[in-house]
């Protein structure tokens, strides 16, 4: 039965060399990278590579590493290339041990970072589909996914997606695409009558929307940090 409960999965995980953590230039560069694609890095799992790294034999040092990464929205989940002493301290800090070349504690089945799976960005997020009208007062959030609504979105309703938003009906409420910061996200609707549209935090309220596009089938994109509305 256990075989059914424990399943294997393969994840892409960032590896950070332990030595770099203490380099101020690295933190600066990391911050720059994250600024460019905040969604990708949000709560992303990180493995600390201890190859040829001095220290890290105490739990406090892992706590510090975890704190540095946390500042950049990253989550430390494990170590690799650890010495036995480092591995002990890492295990004491609740960190997993990753291959290659790590002395693995004998166990079967092999290491399984499934506990942290929830924190990982899904490889291919499923689109959230809504087929009923989105009524006033309702809020729909497609976390880490696109949102498709095949009915009208009423005034006073709010639809939010980390990805793109498609409304195959009148968009009369608020639509916020790229909620996690994705500047590439777009909003498509077959009738623009929105109260507010927003992409990656840039927004326009209905007064600011071009009146000549009102009631038309449009798409809204972020171009040079400005929301642009174009007729479909």
């Amino acid at each position: 039965m256990v075989g059914n409960l424990v399943q294997g999965a393969v994840f892409t995980v960032m590896v950070v060399r332990a030595g770099m953590l203490r380099d101020p230039a690295f933190e600066h560069e990391l911050a720059e990278q994250i600024r460019l694609s905040p969604r990708f890095f949000l709560n992303a799992p990180v493995v600390l590579d201890l190859k040829e790294a001095a220290g890290f034999a105490h739990e406090a040092e892992f706590a510090e590493a975890r704190e540095i990464l946390r500042r950049h929205t990253l989550t430390l989940i494990g170590v690799q290339n650890a010495t036995p002493a480092q591995l002990d301290a890492a295990a004491g800090s609740g960190l997993a041990s990753f291959a290659p070349n790590a002395p693995q504690p004998s166990r079967s089945p092999p290491r399984e970072p499934t506990r942290s799976a929830a924190a990982m960005p899904a490889a291919a997020a499923k689109t959230r589909l809504v087929t009923q009208p989105v009524r006033s007062g309702t809020q729909i959030f497609a976390r880490g996914a696109d949102l498709v609504v095949t009915a009208a979105v009423s005034p006073g309703a709010e639809i939010i997606a980390d990805g793109n938003i498609h409304v195959y009906g009148a968009l009369r409420g608020r639509a916020l695409a790229g909620a996690g910061g994705d500047v590439e996200a777009r909003i498509f609707c077959s009738r623009l009558e929105a109260e507010l549209v927003s992409i990656a935090g840039h927004y326009l309220v209905s007064e600011q929307l071009p009146p000549e596009q009102h009631g038309f089938s449009v798409q809204i994109a972020l171009v040079d940090e400005r929301l642009t509305v174009t007729r479909n």
Partner: protein
């Protein structure tokens, strides 16, 4: 007998819920269905006035919920129609007295002896309105042709789809109908009111009827006579039509003028 629970609700106040509940219940009873109309507006008791039975109220809905009175002690039989009963509410208590299990028990008893249980919901989206809609099989959304009423109705339709008993237990959804009240063709033509098409377009639920704005409604309320008993009144006839459609008959919409460019377009269609 397993009666059907119909709730008349709107979100917004003053749109004509109580008038419509009284008219609808009376209309059903005139067509031979045993009908009771319940006032859920605890603390703001009005239904008994509209039904003209305010001097006969002894026990009320809350007394029955609390077990202080029996159902047949509280039900008031209408003087005009043997099939119609009024179940008044308390004027001294508040909405918190509407305990869900008590309401469920009372509705269960009523279902045994009535075809239709018409619930007149209070305004708002708080406990009173939520309790009134919770057990509904069918909802009639009373809306006026103006933007705030339509938006509140939209909100209520959303709540019916998520907060009703049928929604919570994954049963067949509450059937939702639209009753457009206080419709003035004249004002629609002037662009001061939303047109029927505008309202239908936003709410996208089937239209049960359109009740024209009429002096006779106020007169009927003041005399405690449900408007359906006034055969001369267009509003009364419009309610009769709505009841007939509710029971599955096909009837043409009456008392409407040809449509022009409506208020909604005028407001939002700036192009």
């Amino acid at each position: 007998m397993a009666g059907k629970v119909i709730v008349l609700t709107s979100g917004k106040g003053g749109v004509g819920k109580t008038t419509s509940a009284a008219a609808f219940a009376a209309g059903l009873s005139l067509r031979g269905h045993r009908t009771v109309v319940i006032d859920f507006d605890v603390g703001l008791r009005n239904l008994d006035l509209i039904m003209g039975c305010e001097r006969r109220v002894v026990f009320d809905f809350i007394n029955v919920i609390n077990g202080d009175a029996k159902l047949n002690q509280a039900l008031i039989k209408d003087k005009r129609n043997d099939n119609l009963f009024i179940f008044p509410t308390s004027q001294t208590r508040d909405k918190d007295a509407l305990k869900r299990d008590g309401v469920e028990r009372v509705l269960g008893e009523l279902k045994d002896s009535f075809d239709y249980i018409v619930c007149d919901s209070p305004a708002g989206i708080e406990h009173g309105a939520l309790t009134a809609m919770y057990f509904a099989d069918t909802a009639i959304i009373v809306t006026n042709p103006e933007v705030s009423s339509v938006r509140d109705s939209d909100r209520i339709i959303g709540l019916l789809a998520s907060k009703s008993r049928r929604a919570e237990f994954n049963l067949e959804p509450v059937a939702v109908h639209l009753l457009l009240a206080r419709y003035s063709p004249e004002r629609v033509r002037k662009g001061e009111m939303l047109s029927i098409e505008d309202v239908k377009e936003i709410l996208s639920i089937p239209l049960l009827g359109v009740i024209p704005e009429s002096e006779s409604v106020l007169r009927a309320s003041n005399t405690g006579t449900p408007i359906v008993f006034d055969e001369e009144s267009p509003a009364g006839r419009a309610y009769h039509d709505a009841v007939a459609r509710f029971l599955g008959e096909q009837r043409e919409m009456r008392f409407l003028q040809p449509e022009r460019r409506g208020f909604f377009r005028a407001l939002f269609g700036r192009a």
